[in-house]
């Protein structure tokens, strides 16, 4: 069966029609948004396997809560909100924080873990950038990733996180300063 083209108005209608139309509409939603959601999650959790699991959970949550989506926001905003919640829940459940430097027990630092990760192809500086980003508080890290790597507009981020554009701009600039200071320290 050919995948239907993404037309948000038509999609919203189909979500409230028969079971077949509902499933077709959801499939179009998955096809349209899954990749960008994946990268949003991946930049936060770093591991491909973890990002894949969280992405699956995001769409399962969206599917089982379709009836509660009233169409007041865009579908993308709704999905991003679910993805953000699932990501933060996952990070909170991670009891052990990833150490930034090797400790006495010889645990690998984040940079070392990324070096051995088959799904990371950055150089040493990019590994250190990921370390610097990992020092940021979770929501600030999320804002930085959304703006810097995903190139989202502040207005989009504001809709998803429920934070004002002004606060987001301030958060991003503070994040940039912290990252630059991190590089100063390790230099």
């Amino acid at each position: 069966m050919a995948m239907m083209a993404y037309d948000e108005r038509r999609i919203l209608e189909m979500l409230h029609e028969d079971d077949f139309s509902r499933r077709r509409a959801f499939e179009a939603i998955v096809k349209n948004f899954s990749e960008q959601l994946y990268w949003q999650i991946r930049h936060m959790v770093l591991s491909h396997d973890d990002a894949n699991d969280i992405l699956q959970n995001t769409f399962i949550k969206a599917w089982t809560n379709l009836d509660s989506f009233m169409g007041y926001s865009r579908i993308s905003t709704w999905l991003y909100r679910i993805a953000v919640n699932e990501t933060l829940t996952f990070l909170n459940k991670q009891k052990t924080s990833i150490p930034l430097e090797t400790d006495n027990d010889g645990e690998l630092s984040l940079a070392d873990q990324l070096e051995s990760d088959p799904w990371f192809d950055g150089d040493q500086t990019e590994r250190q950038l990921q370390e610097a980003i990992a020092t940021l508080p979770e929501r600030q890290r999320m804002v930085f990733n959304m703006k810097y790597f995903n190139e989202m507009k502040y207005e989009e981020i504001s809709e998803i996180l429920g934070t004002s554009v002004g606060a987001l701009k301030a958060s991003f600039h503070i994040a940039v300063k912290k990252i630059e200071e991190y590089f100063d320290k390790i230099d």
Partner: protein
Amino acid sequence: MEKERLYKIDEREARRPFTVPEGYFENLTQNIMASLPEQESIYSTNIVVTPWMRIRPYLYAAAAFAGIFFCIKAAVGINSRNNALEIAQEETTIYSDEYIDSFLETAMIDDYTLYYTLVDAN
């Protein structure tokens, strides 16, 4: 990539240092759709019919008819009283006070006899 350039993040072109297994995104939609739980159909006909559900429509109909019956009965009762009033008013209009007075003068009956005549008539 020179480290110095990263000190000015705003000027740096962002690059994702992450990769994915081959074919991951090509198969992603299919994998996600396959992982979705079966959703209870909004057009499901698997409804269990209890005895109460069977007789409920008849009870509702009976209650509706009873309600209509009593409404009609009440309305007819009011109309009956109204008609009685109208009839009484007609009867009194037929016999005006002047007629009654003239009747009394010519009938030569006293008040006592007139009283009992009227009572018997009613």
